[in-house]
């Protein structure tokens, strides 16, 4: 259990390694599925080719689609593609980058299936046995006197061990076709590896600067989406807490205020409650009504904010903190300047030493 947890944590530590993990699992699943699948050639001239080539091509397409389905980035890509421009420009190179990386990962499991099928040779044997030149392998007596159609029927039975009588001819023909199949498999692997090599190793020669940018911003979009979901969850929680608290207060409103007037001492419990309530209120970030929240969620899609943080917002928070400290620590008047003019009672003097 511990091992699984550690592996899980390692894979989830970052989105890319998680996707690589899924990719590897799918490749293994594809190899395992091939070995578990019971290949049974129909051994009939009309269906051999369809069965053989179908088994070579249809499962890879299925694995490719599955790769897209399992990849989280597909919905991020779709959302980024379809959103209205709002206050944030759309960058087509980011969409291209995301699409390329999703496609690259989804292509691995199909490539594994195709190479395993070609190395095994059964599907080529099933598809191409009728195109064989039988004179090469056995004695001509086999096909003497046969019409074209009968010859083809005989050849179509080669993949089936129990249907074809002359074992040496069958074995020789099987070896021959398997050879060709394996040669095709190795060529396929060589081409795929060479293409991947060209893309990975030669790409830094071109567009490296642009690549850094697209990588950063596509990662950013993914993180921003997660942050938005987290913030919404926290907001919903605080909203619920405050809502319920307000409801209780409204119901027993007169009783509580009466109580508070009677006992003016601060209980530690009351203080904690006050603190908690205040922090919940702060977590609401000013959104306190259903319509406001609906507007937030609606605008998030239709009008994404610009990628520019306001400096005064960052500084304002800092000043607030320092002011808070000043309030707590000293009782004197502190001189200095802040951004929020007028309302602040305390201020701070900075010096660079």
């Amino acid at each position: 259990m511990d091992k699984f947890r550690m592996m899980f944590q390692f894979l989830q530590s970052n989105q890319e390694s998680f996707m690589n993990g899924i990719c590897g699992i799918m490749a293994l699943a594809s190899a395992q599925m091939y070995s578990a699948f019971e290949f049974s050639c129909p051994c009939m001239p009309e269906y051999n080719y369809t069965y053989g080539i179908g088994l070579l091509i249809v499962p890879p397409i299925w694995f490719f689609m599955l790769g897209f389905v399992l990849n989280n980035n597909v919905s991020v890509l779709a959302e980024e593609w379809k959103r209205p421009t709002g206050r944030r420009r759309k960058d087509p190179s980011i969409l291209r980058y995301m699409f390329c990386s999703i496609t690259q990962r989804s292509l691995i499991a199909p490539a594994v299936w195709v190479s395993v099928t070609l190395m095994d040779g059964k599907s080529f044997l099933c598809a191409f046995s009728i195109n064989l030149d039988i004179e090469r392998f056995g004695n001509l007596s086999l096909i003497k006197g046969m019409s074209e159609a009968e010859k083809i029927k005989l050849l179509a039975k080669i993949p089936c061990k129990d249907l074809f009588a002359h074992q040496e001819t069958r074995v020789a023909a099987t070896k021959y076709i398997k050879c060709i199949s394996q040669a095709c498999g190795w060529m396929f692997l060589l081409i795929m590896t060479f293409t991947a090599f060209m893309i990975r190793a030669i790409r830094p020669c071109f567009t490296q600067a642009a690549f850094l940018k697209t990588k950063y911003w596509s990662h950013y979009i993914d993180i921003e989406r997660k942050m938005f979901d987290e913030t919404c969850k926290e907001h919903a929680k605080s909203f619920a807490k405050v809502c319920i608290h307000q409801y209780f207060e409204n119901i027993s409103g007169e009783m509580r205020s009466f109580h508070r007037h009677r006992s003016c001492k601060d209980d530690s419990d009351d203080d904690d409650d006050e603190d908690k309530r205040r922090s919940d209120e702060e977590k609401l970030l000013g959104i306190r009504a259903q319509d406001d929240m609906n507007k937030v969620l609606w605008n998030w899609h239709t009008c994404k904010p610009a990628l520019a943080l306001r400096k005064d917002q960052i500084d304002g928070e800092n000043n607030g903190r320092l002011n808070g400290e000043a309030n707590g620590a000293l009782n004197g008047f502190v001189k200095g300047h802040t951004h929020d003019v007028g309302k602040k009672e305390w201020a701070v003097y900075y010096s660079k030493v």
Binding site: L189, S279, L307, L309, G316, G320, G332, K352
Partner: protein, 329 residues
Amino acid sequence: MERLKLVLQYFQSNSESISNGICIILALVSVKLYTSFDFNCPCLPQYNRLYSLGVMVVPPIILFFLGVLINRHTGVMMDEWMRPIGNRSKNPAVVKYLFSAMIQRALLAPMVWILVTLLDGKIFICAFSVSVDPALFSGMPNNTGLDVIKIMAKVPCKEDIIFRNISFHKAVSRYVRCYSQAVGWSILLFLIILGALARLIKPCFDDHATFLQTRYWSNYLDVEQKLFDETCVLHARDFARKCVVQFFEDMREDTILRLPHPLFITNHQEEWEDEEERLHGISKQEQVDQLLDKWYYNKPELDVTRIAHRPRTSVTWEDRGGKTLYSDV
């Protein structure tokens, strides 16, 4: 569990050992690939040699490309080679060092494949059984009506009907396998001697001091790239968080006056301090784009004296009359 963690930590401790680890894994994959591959000699005179040499040569090429692909140093080397000079001079010795390290590691898996095929012998038998002189062995089947070449080409196929109840093919196979193993062991011996000689003679030719510098700076480049990527990721995270909160706050309907904070301090605000630190003042899309462009076109010089001795902000508290109450200075 602890052992696995220790092993992982050791391998991750430095990027050279990660590369070594990956290299060894690829060599093991190559052995596994050979054992699981179903070698299928066609036993036909025209195709035997082609098939065998194909199986001996094409997988090593594939493994070589894979070795170059999964090595991290490839990216570092290409970046260092192709970048504009910027503020940092280029050192060709570093690029050469990275290149030779990458090539050496990438050559291990192909060599393992070739050695395993030679020591196993199947491929040699398939390729060279037609070149063997059948007169050396007794018991060649001569009643099959096939000519000599075709019979010799069938030797790798043990189950063929012409070899039933005779041991001619076994003798020929043994003979060719001998040759194959001899070639395999010779190549292994040659490689080991070459490696040993290179290790022993290198200090005579190479300046060790320069070598230490080159090794340091290649490791530095690798670490710098990793740290840059990590910093970008952290920055993106903080940027995103602030952007989202800013968006929420912009949607406020009612105006809220910024009144002085009450007496307490929440943890919330201390978090903002740390996060603001991590943003390093980069808070706009154009600034980020400019930063990333500059990182490529104009790499900074290797001099960190400025940040090591940068001025700290310190605080001085004065009362109404101007008297200093407290100072950080």
